[in-house]
């Protein structure tokens, strides 16, 4: 059964609440009441994430009224009487003063909110700037949280380990395991509570009998797969050991999604029979909704000793997942598993020589890739927040300067400096919390956008959402932010002596130092935004490179569709060959179809089938060499190359005459030709595949099999007619929009046989675009960050220059009166502004050189220190800086000397 997790309210909220409540009975009972109410909320459905989120939000929402009431009450209450509950004793004095502090804080808060109303412009600007920064970081954190940090929806997921085979001699680091090895491991490993196996691929099963035939991805698992993961079926049962051993009766467990689709949530589906691949299967269980592993699989079969997948130790068809036994570490389990692997290798040197195992946590295995990328993104987006902090700090400094009279009055009335600093800090905290609140709303909007536009290949993207952890993160982030931007202005704003403050000229004298600090802030902002611009520029260039890569075929107006011949109807090579010929004829005859060809595994994919293959006249010397000599094998129909637009560089295409009974023929890709026949003509040579000789009859252009970013592998093609595959992808070149032809295509195939499922219609251009979705997503996000950063930095620069001009109005007026020409005045302001930009750029370039190594793992075809990028983004920033300087400079020119002198 699925364990019910103990309901515990958000710890951070509990701690915060405890800090606000008076110690003793009140605190304990209030916390207890809330705990109980939280538990009642959770009881509605302890496993549902929505309920947990709602309960957590409810708990957090209780905090503000409770804390405020108690903090204000404590202050008021203390002043009246010490209170009987908290008794007398030496602690009372200290406690009482703490009460006053709280009361003072309340006063500070009230005062701060009043002062916001007095200067709404400052408040609005700061809140907005912070909201953008906090919102962006919160968004990235929530992405990291839901994709990577959140535990798997399995029982005690930290105990689960992924077990892969490795062979150091051959340099194979991660591989699947054969069923026979698996059974040995399962029997002998006691460092693992249990070991489960699952087929590495998810073959399509054909469901017939009701409605139209449907293809459903299926997989085969060991009987203990569900119990190892700690997930029980929602209905019915999981597999029995007998079903794995003998497999006399055909049984199947179905996924929740398939159950909903095919049975409309019918509870009586368990026990009924369903026709899969032409044979009846009994449904014994339905999985719960949140179980989606391996993803998108609709049918799960028990592995069986008589299955072709499970035969022989060389057939490494299974992935293994283990659950650590009580108190065992991964290292201990790995040690034991390696000993078992060694014993197996000694017993079966033929197949297992040199093979051992490696254990890693399941979470690591599933999410390590996404984690690196997301941490990099989080790091980049933190730069935006830093810039936002510098920006707000600069605003706060300017505001502190205007408040000198107020602060001076406070001092003269006897306020201690610490007390005034605290007042100013309270304002910062409030601004930051407001900014954080708006930021969370922005992050929520961003999440919706990410869910619709984010790359579908990112795991668990659709689970993106707010939870207590994200909220807590945003809260702490806001507090940290307030310290970052608030402390220096608060200290500097109060560092004036009373005499200074009250002196008329005091303002001018003391603000000199502040403008120096503001300049430092501007330089920081320029430097940080340049670093972000560099990162974004590199990603843009890398993406453009990627987009410019020639896939090796013409993707325009090309439609793919998966078709599969039911295995129970088409058995012999002749039957299969005939069916495919008919299908090709039917499709080719459709109006709007230019040509058609088929392949078993279309290009732009994440993995494929490979086989050992080598020239017949140079057989590999050893078993190890034999395994090194591999090529990616594709089965195609004649006309495939012409349809795809893949050039035939030498020799000929396959023809209808290359059938099951004629000479075996092969066409090889250019990369493979260069590898095996660097100095000779490959045509007429013979290759060995599956212990048979195949004549090389042609050489074709290279195709980016594994996506535009991956290297071209050794590919060779053999005629589908000579092998008889039941499943092929039809590639159709159309005259018009390829997707419009899909319904007609389906009908054409069904005219041959209505039991042939046809699905997976996809425009090849879309397929290529999808393969680039992750790099595109990263590029767009980072470019957005950079844009925000530049806007913030340039407003910061503008602010400092505007202040500079205002401060020097008198000096400028005198200069104009003395006959200074406008260009020299403009030059004065520009020199001031551009010198800040220049220092910022130098620092930013230095930071960029040091930091881009981090993003280098995300780049394709561009060096992390690409000079063009560095130079062009610097120029771009100079241009933005100039624009930010222009308005203050023009204002300086317009200073009217008469007015200035009159004011004197």
């Amino acid at each position: 059964m699925r364990p019910v997790r103990k309901a515990v309210p958000p710890r951070a909220a509990q701690a915060l609440l405890a800090a606000c409540l008076p110690r003793g009975m009140v605190r304990d009972t209030v916390l207890g009441d809330l705990h109980e109410a939280y538990c009642s909320l959770m009881e509605r459905d302890p496993t549902s994430r929505a309920v947990r989120l709602r309960a957590g939000l409810w708990y957090w929402s209780q905090l503000p009224p409770l804390c405020l009431r108690y903090l204000t009450r404590r202050g008021a209450h203390r002043r009246q009487k010490p209170g009987p509950v908290h008794s007398s004793g030496p602690a009372t004095g200290g406690r009482a003063s703490r009460g006053f502090i709280m009361k003072d804080s309340w006063n500070d808060i009230r005062f701060a909110s009043r002062s916001f109303r007095r200067s709404p412009g400052f408040t609005l600007a700061s809140v907005l700037v912070l909201a953008i920064g906090i919102g962006a970081v919160t968004l990235m954190f929530s992405l990291l949280n839901s994709v990577v940090l959140r535990p798997l929806p399995l029982e005690d997921p930290e105990e689960l380990v992924w077990i892969s085979s490795m062979n150091e001699e051959r340099g194979v680091m991660s591989n699947s395991t054969s069923a026979l090895d698996y059974w040995d491991f399962r029997e002998q490993a006691d460092a693992l509570k249990s070991v489960a196996a699952m087929l590495v691929f998810t073959p399509q099963a054909i469901i017939t009998g009701r409605d139209e035939p449907e293809r459903v991805p299926s997989t085969t698992v060991s009987y203990n797969f569900f119990s190892t993961l700690g997930v029980a079926p929602q209905l019915g049962r999981s597999f029995l050991l007998e079903e794995e051993r003998t497999g006399e009766q055909n049984v199947v467990v179905i996924s929740h999604g398939f159950w909903q689709r095919r049975f409309g949530n019918d509870q009586t589906a368990v026990g009924t029979s369903i026709t899969i691949n032409g044979e009846p299967y009994q449904i014994v269980g339905v999985m719960p909704q949140d179980f989606n592993f391996p993803s998108a699989v609709g049918l799960l079969f028990p592995m069986q000793a008589r299955d072709p997948f499970t035969q022989s130790r060389g057939n490494n068809n299974f992935n293994l997942i283990g659950r650590l036994a009580e108190g065992m570490t991964i290292e201990q389990a790995q040690g034991q598993m390696q000993m078992i692997a060694q014993r197996i290798a000694e017993a079966y040197p033929e197949t297992n020589q040199g093979w051992s195992v490696r254990l890693q946590s399941l979470h690591e295995r599933l999410f390590a890739g996404a984690r690196t990328v997301l941490f990099i993104m989080l790091g980049l987006v933190s730069l935006v927040l830093l810039i936002a902090c510098a920006n707000v700090a600069s605003l706060a400094l300017a505001r502190a300067a205007t408040r000198i009279p107020e602060i001076a009055v406070r001092f003269s009335l006897g306020a201690v400096r610490g007390r005034v600093v605290r007042l100013l800090l309270t304002e910062s905290v409030l601004v930051a919390l407001l900014g954080g609140g708006v930021g969370v709303i922005l992050a929520l909007l961003g999440m919706d956008a990410l869910k619709s536009f984010g790359p579908g290949t990112l795991p668990r993207l659709q689970e993106l959402g707010l939870d207590a952890r994200v909220l807590g993160f945003a809260f702490i982030l806001s507090l940290a932010t307030s310290i970052l931007f608030g402390v220096v202005p608060a200290l500097r704003g109060t560092s004036l002596s009373l005499a200074d403050a009250l002196r008329v000229g005091g303002m001018r004298g003391s603000s000199q130092g502040k403008s120096g600090f503001r300049s430092t802030l501007v330089v920081t902002q320029v430097a940080l935004s340049l670093m972000l611009m560099i990162a974004s520029g590199l990603l843009v260039r890398s993406y453009l490179r990627l987009q410019g890569v020639d896939p090796g075929f013409q993707a325009q107006r090309l439609l793919q569709a998966d078709a599969q011949l039911p295995s129970w109807k088409y058995r012999s090579n002749e039957e299969i060959e005939q069916a495919w010929s008919l299908i090709h004829q039917q499709v080719a005859a459709l109006p709007g179809v230019v040509s058609v060809g088929s392949i078993d595994q279309q290009p732009i994919r994440s993995g494929g089938t490979w086989n050992t293959v080598y020239p017949a006249d140079r057989p590999p010397a050893s078993t190890a060499d034999r395994n090194q000599s591999a090529g990616d094998r594709r089965m195609i129909s004649e006309g495939y190359f012409a349809t795809m637009g893949i050039p035939i560089l030498a020799g000929r295409d396959f023809s209808a005459l290359d059938g099951p009974n004629s000479t075996l023929v092969m066409i090889i890709g250019q990369t493979m030709a260069n590898r095996f026949f660097p100095d000779e003509d490959p045509l007429g040579k013979q290759m060995v595949l599956w212990d048979a000789n195949w004549d090389v009859v042609g050489v074709v252009g290279d195709v980016r099999e594994f996506g535009l970013a991956a290297d071209v592998p050794n590919v060779f093609y053999i005629p589908a007619r000579q092998v008889g595959p039941q499943r092929l992808q039809l590639m159709v070149r159309t005259a018009g929009n390829p997707t419009e032809i899909a319904p007609a295509l389906r009908e054409a195939v069904w005219e041959v046989d209505r039991e042939i499922p046809i699905s997976g219609f996809q425009n090849m251009e879309t397929r290529i675009a999808n393969s680039l979705s992750q790099p595109r997503f990263r590029m767009i996000l980072v470019a957005l960050f950079a844009a925000v950063a530049v806007v913030l930095a340039s407003t910061g620069l503008y602010g400092v220059l505007a202040y500079f001009v205002r401060q020097r109005t008198r000096e400028l007026g005198i200069r104009v009166a003395m006959g200074a020409a406008p260009p020299s005045i403009i030059g004065l302001v520009l020199r001031k502004g551009m010198s800040l930009v220049a220092i910022g750029i130098v620092l930013g370039l230095t930071g960029g050189f040091a930091g881009t190594r981090i993003v280098s793992s995300l780049l394709f075809g561009v060096s992390a220190r690409d000079a063009v990028t560095f130079a062009s983004v610097s120029l771009c920033l100079v241009a933005v800086g100039l624009i930010a300087c222009v308005v203050p400079a023009l204002r300086a020119v317009r200073v009217d000397p008469q007015e200035v002198l009159r004011a004197e």
Binding site: D33, H35, L66, R73
Partner: protein
């Protein structure tokens, strides 16, 4: 603090809710009682602070129940209205009734 001797509205409602709950009253179900009987939503902050105040005035006493895991190991605060509390509620009731007298017809016309 008002020193009129009369109870505030919330104070009165809370005392009455505690009486209704007949010895079983504690924070959460007092809130429920108020919301179910009169549809009044009271924040926990207001409730607890009022309870403390009533206790300080000597109108309520509380006993601690046993801590349970469901409460995170924290005890429950059971509330009882003291004779002084009862007298205050009575006094308020009398005052209200006296003020209401003769107004029924006017208010009905509205």
């Amino acid at each position: 603090m008002k020193r009129t001797g009369y109870l505030g509205e919330l104070e009165q409602m809370i005392l009455l809710a505690v009486l209704q709950l007949n010895g079983e009253a504690f924070g959460t179900n007092v809130l429920q009682e108020l919301s179910e009987r009169v549809g009044r939503t009271v924040s926990r902050g207001a409730l607890y602070v009022t309870l403390d105040r009533l206790e300080e005035k000597g109108m309520l006493t509380s006993q601690l129940g046993d801590p349970t895991p469901r409460r995170g190991g924290k005890p429950k605060r059971y509330l009882t209205v003291t004779p002084a509390g009862l007298a205050a509620v009575r006094r308020s009731r009398t005052a209200w009734l006296q003020l209401w007298e003769g107004l029924d017809s006017i208010l009905e016309q509205q």
